[in-house]
């Protein structure tokens, strides 16, 4: 059963004297537990598509079901709730709030879910332990390295136990050693059953996924399993 189903989605941006069609009718289905890398050059429409998947932006035409729920008909507040309960975001720039310590950063989505402070604290600490930063709960984002910040961001994305993790160039600001560590975490999470959609323009990052979807000029031009998928589930 597919957790994400996109059918003939079109996205237009208004520009001077008309509009620019960033997505020209995209259809895609992603099943529960998949690990999909979305690839393409800048301007290919992959980031636009990712924003639509993340319920951050609205599409012009077509239909999108997330968790069997049609996103196009939802209000702003319903979209916020959907992001809060179903999705986890990991960004290229980490996007931690510098004023808060790491535990509060991780617990932030729970504030909007109405979870008590003690419970937020407990769950944040558990996730900090899980990403190997258990001793840094009181630290602030500017006191730790980029790789550590990205791990905190992953912990934040996981705190609401989302169905889908959306990662937009998660290794774009990291060196190759740290990138490997982050991708290892993703692989582990996927093995635990979380659906992951990762946007990247780097082939070696995409190689970690199990399925690659290539974008060009607002269309899907390629959709195939990776070699990694072959290694993980060898043909019988």
């Amino acid at each position: 059963m597919s957790v994400i189903r996109v059918s003939d989605v079109v996205k237009d941006y208004p520009i001077a004297g008309g509009y620019y069609r960033a997505l020209q009718g995209v259809s895609l289905e992603i099943a529960q537990g998949e690990y999909v890398a979305i690839m393409g050059h800048s301007g290919s429409g992959k980031s636009t598509f990712m924003n639509l998947l993340g319920c951050l932006d609205r599409y012009t035409q077509g239909r999108y079901w997330l968790n069997s729920c049609e996103v196009g008909s939802l209000s702003r507040n319903e979209l916020a709730q959907l992001r809060n309960r179903t999705l986890g975001f990991v960004f290229q720039g980490f996007n931690l709030l510098s004023r808060m310590n790491l535990a509060d950063n991780i617990g932030l989505p729970l504030v909007y879910a109405g979870v008590s402070k003690a419970e937020r604290r407990r769950r944040a600490q558990a996730l900090l332990d899980r990403v190997g930063l258990g001793a840094y709960a009181e630290s602030h984002p500017n006191q730790i390295s980029g790789g550590q910040q990205q791990r905190v961001a992953i912990a934040r994305a996981l705190i609401n136990q989302p169905r889908v993790l959306l990662a937009d160039e998660p290794t774009g600001n990291l060196d190759s050693q740290t990138s490997e560590e982050i991708l290892a975490i993703f692989r582990q999470l996927n093995a635990d059953g979380i659906t992951i959609v990762l946007v990247t323009h780097e082939a070696d990052v995409a190689a970690h996924a199990l399925r690659q979807v290539g974008f060009r000029d607002g269309r899907i031009v390629r959709d195939e399993p990776t070699a990694e998928a072959g290694r993980r589930s060898p043909p019988c």
Binding site: G54, L56, R76, Q81, Y112, R156, N160
Partner: protein, 405 residues
């Protein structure tokens, strides 16, 4: 959720301490000014009310005109009103009390080594009734004291204190113009009159004593007749009748000017009260302008803050913040700033009012009501001026906010 948001708002303000403090300063000045001005304004109203009630109610003051016209020539001080005029007024309907009095220049009063300059009032006993002026210790003089021109005196609070200190003045002797007077009683404190004189500096002696023994006047001339009407409603008719009576008694022909004047003290008092009220409102509205400016300062800073934190708002929205949560976050910040500013302003205003009272010699009235009003206004200013920036934040597009650099 609210506690978490309060903590966040506090941290957000702490991130820009100087800016938050300067923003609050606007509120501090605004609220402080409102509290201080209201205290001064209410103080002025209170002072006027005090002097009105000190004067007595439903009063007319009848006095000789300062100038009269006689044969085309204006002559100063020629006109007179007399004891006989006063006695005739007693007969008019609607008149309750008539108290005639003589008010010469202040003279020196001596007791032992102490001396003090007091205003002597020559009066009939009814004068005290007309003024609602009580004797707090000792007793009043009577009609027979007036007729016999005895040397007795009622002294004001201030006179008693200056001449006798802690001693009881009743039964003691003071010397006025080299003549011994027995102090019969001490008058109740009255405070300032509407024209600014301290009435507690008065000494009241029987009218005839003042006329004959102190100031050598003959012919029964007096300065002033105080007429107390039975009620406020009776005042217009009493005034008409008095005018007609005096014109007749003074033989003023049709078309000639009066040689006396009748002042309605209630009207005068009301005018004074009205003036004080207008002044109080004026002060309050000037102060309110500074409160308004303070509010605009908050709005300005909140708008800057929303722009600066656009990316943060985007992150929060991506993590599932609803419009209401973002709105509440920024609104709360504005409210906290205005409430803290208000509390500090309130304290400074109270301190200012106290300084005014001590060193400015002004009556100030600080009421819990005015403090409460200032607080409520500050809160509404915070909500009013914080709402627009907060709404702007809440309605941001998540993807644009996230992309904001």
């Amino acid at each position: 959720m609210l506690i978490a948001m309060l903590g966040e708002a506090w941290r957000a303000m702490g991130a820009n301490r100087l800016r938050s403090l300067l923003t609050m300063l606007g509120m501090v000045i605004g609220v402080g000014a409102v509290v201080l001005m209201m205290a001064v304004g209410q103080g002025a109203q209170y002072a006027v009310k005090q002097s009105i009630s000190a004067m007595g109610s439903n009063l007319f003051i009848v006095s000789a005109s300062l100038s009269t016209t006689s044969g085309g020539v204006r002559r100063a001080g020629a006109a007179k009103i007399t004891v006989a005029d006063a006695e005739a007024m007693m007969e008019l309907p609607g008149v309750e009390v008539v108290g005639q009095s003589l008010h010469p220049a202040p003279v020196q009063v001596i007791h032992g080594q102490a001396n003090w300059t007091a205003s002597i009032v020559g009066a009939v006993p009814e004068y005290l009734d007309a003024r609602s002026w009580d004797v707090v210790s000792g007793s009043r003089f009577t009609e027979s004291d007036v007729k016999a021109a005895t040397r007795v005196a009622l002294i004001g609070q201030n006179v008693g204190r200056k001449l006798f200190g802690d001693e009881d003045p009743v039964g003691k002797v003071v010397r006025i113009k080299q003549q011994p007077f027995v102090v019969l009683g001490v008058l109740a404190p009255k405070g300032q009159s509407l024209d600014g004189r301290d009435q507690d500096d008065s000494i009241i002696v029987p009218l005839v004593t003042a006329q004959r023994k102190l100031f050598g006047q003959t012919g029964g001339g007096i300065n002033m007749i105080m007429v107390k009407a039975e009620s406020l409603e009776a005042m217009p008719s009493v005034e008409q009748e008095m005018r007609a009576l005096l014109r007749q008694r003074h033989r003023i022909r049709e078309g000639m000017e009066n040689d006396f004047s009748i002042r309605d003290l209630t009207a005068t008092a009301n005018t004074a009260a009205e003036t004080a009220k207008v002044m109080s409102m004026l002060l309050g509205s000037i102060a309110s302008v500074s409160l308004l400016v303070g509010g605009i300062g908050i709005m300005n800073i909140m708008l800057v803050s929303v722009t600066e934190r656009t990316r943060e708002i985007g992150i929060r929205m991506a993590l599932g913040a609803r419009e209401g949560a973002i709105l509440a976050q920024f609104l709360l910040e504005a409210i906290i700033m205005s409430v803290i500013g208000c509390v500090i302003g309130l304290l400074l205003g109270l301190v200012g009012a106290e300084l005014f009272r001590r060193f400015g010699n002004t009556t100030v009235v600080v009421s819990g009501g005015s403090a409460l009003v200032a607080f409520g206004v500050a809160l509404s200013v915070g909500v009013f001026f914080g709402y627009y920036p907060a709404r702007k934040a809440a309605l941001l597009d998540p993807i644009e906010a996230l992309r904001y650099q």
